[in-house]
């Protein structure tokens, strides 16, 4: 009987060693240790034995069981380890591209617009929309640019058949904001489309985008203007941004400045700025003896082009997928 038992253990160990997968191994386990397995069959012999024999045979059975269980355990651990590691014909090539719809993209212009806006919101400016179909009054007259003024030549405007002007600059919002929001302090901005009768070329499009800002308080000065512009520029172009302020002329600000940014070794004009003219404050119902402030405006098309290295403004309005997917 003990020979038979040795043989059983030997066979069991062989089968265990031969198992290639966890399921094969499980078959082996069932074959020996299952409800109808070989060990159960041996146990059934116990009934017919005397108490002493029972005791002895019990020990033997336990020995057999332990050696099979031990071998099964070891083999199981080994198989698990090998199934969870190492190359396998059925493993996925994880470097294949994921399956999904192609991603969407924001337009570089609106992305730039939102970025600039977010910076300014952080500096306490409120954003609101203002009309694009504007009156000549808000677009020009209120900005110290009466009809006869040669500065109007700088803006070749579109007029609607009912006599409105399509705003030639977002600065048209300035006195509207002053009137809307009552007495200062005020920090306001707007952005969006502007229209001028420019011939289309690589740097001109008759419809373009600007962002305009005003800040009015009792002591807001040219030095504050410079500070705000540095905050904006460093957020857009990096902490070590260099700006250059050149005297310039806008009918609605004095002193006026053109501001250039040093970008890739070159000075590039990015915005116009200045202290709001007393005439403009008055047109907005603000007492210019008591309040003062600054205004600045920037061309978003140009800003987007500089930041993304876009060389032709027309590309931004053609909306070719190959273009839009690059941003």
């Amino acid at each position: 009987m003990s020979d038979q038992n040795d043989e059983l253990v030997e066979d069991a160990l062989k089968s265990i060693a031969a198992a290639q997968t966890l399921s094969e191994l499980d078959e082996v386990r069932v074959h020996y240790l299952g409800k109808k397995g070989k060990i159960k069959a041996l146990q059934s012999q116990l009934k017919s034995l005397s108490p002493e024999e029972k005791k002895e045979f019990g020990k033997v059975l336990n020995g057999i069981k332990q050696s099979i269980q031990g071998a099964l355990g070891e083999k199981k651990a080994a198989l698990e380890e090998s199934e969870n590691s190492g190359p396998d014909l059925e493993a996925i090539d994880v470097t294949l591209p994921g399956v999904s719809a192609l991603p969407g993209h924001r337009h570089p212009l609106t992305a730039t617009m939102e970025e600039v806006k977010a910076i300014l919101v952080g500096l306490g400016f409120r954003y609101d929309d203002y009309p694009e179909v504007e009156s000549e009054y808000y677009n020009f007259d209120a900005l110290n640019t009466p009809d006869w003024h040669p500065a109007r030549d700088m803006h070749d405007s579109f007029y609607t058949t009912v006599g409105n002007v399509l705003r030639t600059h977002t600065s048209a919002f300035q006195t509207r904001a002053m009137k809307n929001f009552g007495p200062p302090p005020l920090r306001a901005m707007t952005s969006g489309r502007c229209y001028r009768r420019d011939e289309i070329d690589a740097s001109h499009f008759p419809i373009f985008h600007q962002l305009d800002v005003i800040a009015i308080d009792q002591n807001i000065s040219f030095a504050d203007l410079k500070w705000v512009l540095y905050q904006l520029a460093s957020a857009l172009f990096g902490e070590d941004v260099q700006l250059r302020f050149r005297p310039s002329y806008f009918p609605f600000t004095t002193p006026s400045a053109e501001v250039d940014v040093m970008f890739n070794g070159k000075w590039l004009e990015i915005l116009g700025a200045g202290m709001i003219r007393p005439e403009v404050l008055q047109a907005g119902g603000v007492d210019s003896e008591k309040w003062q402030g600054f205004a600045f405006g920037l061309g978003l098309d140009r800003m987007a082009m500089i930041r993304h290295g876009i060389t032709d403004i027309r590309l931004m309005y053609e909306n070719e997928e190959a273009f839009l997917r690059q941003f």
């Binding site: 399956v99 999904s100 719809a101 192609l102 969407g104 993209h105 337009h107 212009l109 609106t110 939102e114 806006k117 919101v121 500096l123 306490g124 400016f125 954003y127 929309d129 694009e132 179909v133 006869w148 003024h149 040669p150 579109f158 007029y159 609607t160 058949t161 399509l166 302090p185 005020l186 920090r187 489309r193 008759p206 419809i207 800040a215 308080d217 009792q218 002591n219 000065s221 040219f222 030095a223 504050d224 410079k226 500070w227 250059r244 302020f245 050149r246 005297p247 310039s248 002329y249 004095t254 002193p255 053109e258 202290m275 007393p278 003062q292 309005y317 909306n319 070719e320 997928e321 190959a322």
Partner: protein, 818 residues
Amino acid sequence: MYINTGWLRDYLSADCKESELLDAFMTVGLEVEEEHDLSRALEPIRIGFIREKKALGDTGKLYECQIEIQKGKLITVVCASEHPVEIGWGIPVATAGTKLPSGALIAEGNFKGVRSEGMICLDGEMGLIARSSGLQIFKDEATLGESLSAVSPIQETLVDVSVLPNRPDCLGMIGVAREVAAVLDMELKYPSSREMNASAQQGETVAVEIDDASLCTRYACQVFDGVQVRSSPHWLKSRLQTAGLRPINNVVDITNFVMLEWGQPLHAFDFDALKGNRIEVRRMSAAEKLKLLDESEVDGAHQPLVIADAENPIALAGIMGGWNSQTTGDSKRILLEAACFDPVCIRTSSRKLRISTDSSYRFERGTDPNDMLSGAFNRASELLQDAELSGAKPASGVTDCYPHVRQRTTFALDSRRFSKLLGTEISDRQIEECLSKLEMTHDDSLTISVPTWRVDVNNEVVLAEDVARLLRYDSIDMKPMVATTTKGRVSETDGLRTKVGSFLTSNGFLECRTPPLTTEKIAMSFSQWQGESIQVQNPISKEMTTLRQSLVGSLVEVVERNARRGASSFRFFEVDRTFRSNDGEIDERWMIGGVVGGAVNDSAWIASEKEIDFLRAKGLVQNLLAHLSVEGITYESDSAAKGYRGEEYAVIKHGSQRIGALGRIDLNALGIKDRARVPLYGMELDISTLMTVKSPAKIFAGLARTQVVARDISIVVPIGLRYAEIAKSLENAFEAAVSNLDAEARKETDSSFSLQPKLESVICIDTFVGESVGADAKSLTIRMLFRDETHTLTSGEAQQLMDYVVSQLHSEHGVVQR
């Protein structure tokens, strides 16, 4: 305005480096469009030697020259006799194709049958001021083929300055020199004294009458006799040429030169062509006509201001002289005129007559009536009398009509106000020092007197700007803004637009920017709104005439453009305004527009069989609206807006309010060739309406711990019955079923209880149309999810509910269960 720095240096008291001079332009605020370093810009100009020369034609004005431009290579150049040339001379040659600094391109020409392959370049034509004879001549054959700048060192720059409209005083060399000198700490060197020589009354007298002193501030004239009209000396010609003016004769050249120098236009009439020793400055009468120097004729319809003699108009005031009174080679006596006109008057005439000249450009910006005489007129008078020029003699005194003398304006300044405006400490002394550089004077109490050429100084802030720019903007240190705290925020609609953008881009959409000003057809197609179109009265092209009422038309154009480039699936959106007019009220309305079509899953490498259809497009809209917290939306069939196909079109509503549209695009109706070749769906949502219906922050509804019950019913319904109606009935039926529900006994519950199951969701999971259900019916499978919050429903209870619902649907709509 082109400025040659060599010429500008005539008016500067000290020398400086070229680079310092150029920097000064920018520092002081003169806008430099372009700088041409002439030594570099003239690199392509080579020294050629004249080997042959013969007269061309018999006018004696043209010569045909053979010029050797490199060893053994000859070209033919036809030259005018403006400057004599001789065989054996080396001269600067620009071959055809060369671009001169002024921007002029030398082209091949044909003169009397002879092909000219280049040009002999005079100094002025190259933007240089003349060194000697106006043409640089080289005798050393070693220079053959060399670059001009290599053999003749050039230290001049041609600067293209754009003078901003507020500073007409800088439309002359003296004004520019004054500004530049101020930042370079130099003095401005006037070219002549500004004292009028009292000339004795001689011979002629000319009466001047100004009709309306508000239109002509000052008018001065003087007769000169013994004028020798001839070609100007080279120094003068080349200076005119550098500024882009063509030399004509010494008299005209002098008036032009002085204009370039002082910014004050002048005119010289042939005195013998004038009638009655009398000048009138008046409006032209409707019946009068005047032939101008450019041989065009104006009439008096707009009643422009004119200069007239005793009988007729002789010049369009401030704009252009008359043909009949011009100075010609035969003129013996001339009348030199200087005037100062009302800028608005000149601007109005110039605009109405559509004539703009160097003269009108200056007058409409404003000239100085004081320097007009003592500066410009005086200088021209000196030059006319110069023997080298015309050798003329005054033949009358100066008639000077100046009804209201323009005084210098004064401003009592306060340095504290300047300090507050600029944000840096400015002292009285700094203000005085800066402003005196601009020839402003001051008294002890900082009252500043401003020269009359500064027509822009109408407010003390302009003087603050002058101080700031002379101290240099860069010297004002920025400082963190200390001001009342204000609330930074975007508007609610702008916040919603940002959300829309991020949702749609997350769903594979590409954002577009298309022009709102478009063709009338595109502007009006897809519009679902009442209202008139807004047209532009002065469009620049047929492509941009009308402000659009819908975004979809422009996006369809984007699809077509991309289809031409080979794209086969499309997801484009734009968020922008649309425009219409309601009884003259402009309505600017923000919209979300989208166009989709093609593969549902357009991933690059695993093809998808499925294409976007109406329901998939609707799914996108539904998810977008859910993302924006807009609930209670219905989709209704309606007559389609132009551009959509009626059978696949829905108007999107919230209650009775229309918030948008969704539909299949009808390219045929738009007359567009279908390049996309897949069904395209357009959608448009009105943001301003969305703003009014979107839900506030959502309230937590609690979490049910009981199990949800799912039941599907498959029903056959009449084909015309809409799903929305069935779903509505089903919801009503369920509610009725709940009130009739008998709860089954439960082990754990001893006390009585009632069940209030709620229908959580109704979704259609399958539709089927086919023979097996009959021609006028369709089959639907609808999944219902419901639960009671306190007790998990038993299958018996669920069955009770379903049985009731089915019987209710049957009695209401004749629906049968499959």
